[in-house]
Amino acid sequence: MAHYLLSVVTPSDGEPPTEDEMNAIMGNVATLQSDMQSAGVWVFSGGLEAPDTATVLRRSGDDVLVTDGPFVELKEYVGGLTIIDVPDLDAALHWGRRSTEAIGLAIEVRPFQWAP
């Protein structure tokens, strides 16, 4: 088995979903997560706060600098993520497809190089 990160590719200038749309998405996500759990592939899922809530720590000599904001402003950011444990890329792509169908945003599927 191998771990894959499914990232939700969220456009920075996108129109935020209405409350109804958000409720529908959260319902889809809950169904998907329970399907992943029954298939025995789910490791972790979560939605992230907006990038402007981020704080960056960077080593500088013997010091550590603290900076407010994301480390780089991009047109798209990671809005949420799921980690799954599956046999191969085809299985990961299956869950990636389910995720993009559930959320309506692009999903990046990326293998972990190592995981505990």
Binding site: L89, L93, R110, Q113
Partner: protein, 406 residues
Amino acid sequence: MRHVPSSAAIERIVAEEYGRCVATLTRVLGDIDLAEDAVQDALTVALTRWPADGVPANPGGWLVTTGRRRALDRLRRDAVGRDKEHRAAREEPPPDDDTPQEEEGPVDDDRLRLIFTCCHPALALPARVALTLRLLGGLGTDEIARAFLVPEATMAQRIVRAKNKIRAARIPYRVPRDADLPDRLPGVLAVVYLVFTEGHATATREDLAAEAIRLARLLAQLMPDEPEVLGLLGLLLLTEARRPARTSADGARVLLADQDRTRWDRAMVDEGLDLVRRCLRRDRPGPYQVQAAINAVHASAPDTASTDWRQIVALHDQLLALTPSPTVALNRAVALAETEGPAAALEIVDALAERLERYHLLHAVRADLLGRLGRDDEADRALEAALTRTDDPDDRALLAARRRRG
């Protein structure tokens, strides 16, 4: 029965067996790079031993066995390879036996696995094409780079990156389940078709067209129940059959309408027609089958005038329904000019003008239709428009000649 072979005979065997051996060793060793190195090692041994000892009865089995031994030697020298060594050792023959066991030859399914891995949708199309030619066709990186007009370093990087992704992302080494085949097969066929069109575009890259036909034949042999696979092979054969007539004595390109059809390769035409008939019996049409059928109608006519244009229009209607695209609509208009006349065809072409504005053939077709309608000045302007939209020397020569004829 062993005989002393010529070096050309050895090269033919190597070309034939290369893909099989890489495919089987990829399964056995669990790694494409190891498999490629193993086949290279085995070929080096073969090239020194076969000319003296003769070619073994089962050269593929000999290469696989020799390659696996060499790979094991490599892995033993490499502590990191311990895990992979276990895998390969399970099928290792007893160490005291030095003769390769010829019955443990390559497995055909392995090549199908390798094709589906090379053509996985998670890889970009240029990477799929390069990997397929390299691993199944045994073409060198330099040859593939030349064929696709990119620097060798770029092509090498493309191949390394693709192989790395297969390994790191764990693209599986298997034939998709039947349920997934409709999603996965078109990606494989597109690669073979792209290799062919690259080889078809210029006379000097005949080897690519031949390689595409070899790959299509392999797919047809491995998936005889998939009509689109048969359709693709039929399409390639019927197109390739025209190669001898497609270039004039002075090297200029000759259009279908002006070709000397007695110069078509009869054996390829017959095989192509037979494949189209087999597709028709299955009655599960797809884009490659319909394109093969269109070429079959051309192939069945002694000249342009006696071509069954109604049938060709009907097939283009079917193709348009399967793959709606403005270029298919343009080809349909060309056929329609023969059944309904140039005015009706021109109306369709003009309606496509906006979407195909930058495509030189739109303007070339317009020029032809306008000329047939006696609108010579407009025809000349359309030819000029076509000329400014292509850099291909063959296209330009053809268009310039038409302009001179007026």
